[in-house]
Chain length 119, copies 2
DNA sequence: CGGCATCCTTGGAGATACTG
DNA sequence: CAGTATCTCCAAGGATGCCG
């Protein structure tokens, strides 16, 4: 089955690659990166993430599942009348903050349309 | 056409989002991230990247095109008998080094199976 | 509110072959 | 060596609806 082969390929790639590449396979996808970035500063609930990431519920749900499965994100449920679910970073996820901080810096330097201020 | 709508959606997402999210739309994809990471330390040629990233030539070609288009990567051609093409980071791309350095650190801390050496 | 189930579409990527 | 061309296919994601 090619599906299996595909899996094996990915597995193999994960095995052989350096840790960084491994991690990129876990988080290096647009939705997951968005979510991680959005959760960097604060806990958020499902619909908040849905709005901020602009993802469909199924897409968001899938991305969250994989992030939880790999230990980047934690789910917290509040049993109220309308049930409330909160997502936040695990320690592993929070440890990524310096990475995003650097990325923020970089983006500010290279993407911002700021005419001429810092440089 | 939904293709256009899709484009618009993406445009809109890029507009509204913070610079970091914009940048993630440019580089936040597994092949591109792989390439950037592989080029971080040294100039490489096509087939070297092909091997190190484990990508097909077309996939690699496409990813490189988009990276060049967005100014992360430079192409250099050496007109010899068997033509040689080299890829390296532009200044913009090189500026991402701290990001990958942080990611490397993180990966070493959280993914490496190293028993107990550094820590 | 926080999802899941379903249907459908699209493009990304695999495989293979070919060229300057 | 460094790609381009072609064909195919699958899975990610859009749209919509439903439910505890």
């Amino acid at each position: 089955m090619s599906a299996n082969d595909r899996q094996e390929e990915i597995e193999k790639r994960n095995q052989s690659a350096c840790p960084t590449i491994q991690s990129l396979n876990e988080i290096g996808e647009i939705w997951r990166l968005n979510i991680l970035h959005d959760l960097m500063d604060e806990e958020k609930r499902f619909n908040e993430l849905k709005r901020s990431t602009n993802a469909r519920s199924r897409t968001l749900s899938n991305a969250l599942d994989s992030l939880i499965e790999n230990g980047y994100v934690k789910r917290r449920t509040e049993e109220a009348a309308p049930i409330a679910v909160f997502y936040s970073l695990s320690e592993k996820g929070r440890a990524l903050k310096p990475v995003f901080d650097e990325l923020d810096d970089w983006a500010a330097d290279w993407l911002d349309d700021v005419p001429a201020d810092s440089v």
